[in-house]
Symmetry: C2
């Protein structure tokens, strides 16, 4: 990830409502959520929400697909992982100190250890 892309991702997340939207989508996982449900849960005006989705999308943090008349937005985990990698570069002798970090979609239920 380049500097410019990192700034874009950071700027997209640096706003209360947008951060809430993103975190909600992260919780939900790759299936995503229709815009209307996000609007309801977070009490956001539809047009404001479109504005925020556009910014998250430009930063590569979410994707959209249409389903009937609904637009379904979902978190794009790769981008967050790239951002985490970028932020942890150069902090431990010039090499990333967190190679194992990876943001994956949440499971529906916690996997119970045997």
């Amino acid at each position: 990830m380049k500097n410019v892309e990192a700034v874009a991702a950071l700027a997209a997340l640096a706003q209360d409502n947008r951060l809430d939207v993103y975190r909600l989508l992260v919780e939900v996982g790759p299936e995503g959520l229709p815009a209307g449900q996000v609007a309801d849960k977070l009490r956001l005006a539809p047009s404001a929400l479109t504005f925020h989705f556009d910014r998250l999308r430009d930063a590569g943090l979410v994707t959209v697909r249409r389903q009937g008349r609904s637009m379904i937005y979902a978190a794009q985990f790769d981008t967050m992982n790239a951002l985490l990698g970028f932020l942890t570069e150069n902090c431990c002798g010039g090499v990333s100190c967190a190679p194992a970090v990876a943001c994956k979609p949440a499971r529906k239920r916690a996997k119970i250890p045997a």
Copy 2:
């Protein structure tokens, strides 16, 4: 880390010059760097740099101390670690998926394995 603090940290990093400043300080480590040297390396006007330092400081991402007439700025690694923790919450079954992530100051030289 709370939502508000995360937004503050993200906003502080979401600007090219400021991100450069922060990353430079991360490379340098806890000893920090005088404002003037940061200004020289990144070609930033002194007053602009003060402006950016203030924002990084408000977000808890850097600290300052005086040394003679110089102000020495240093990265505050704890805050970045808290931010990384915040960003990786809720992405793996509701539990952070990256408990081992920790941003520590870079060593002067890489430790050579025995």
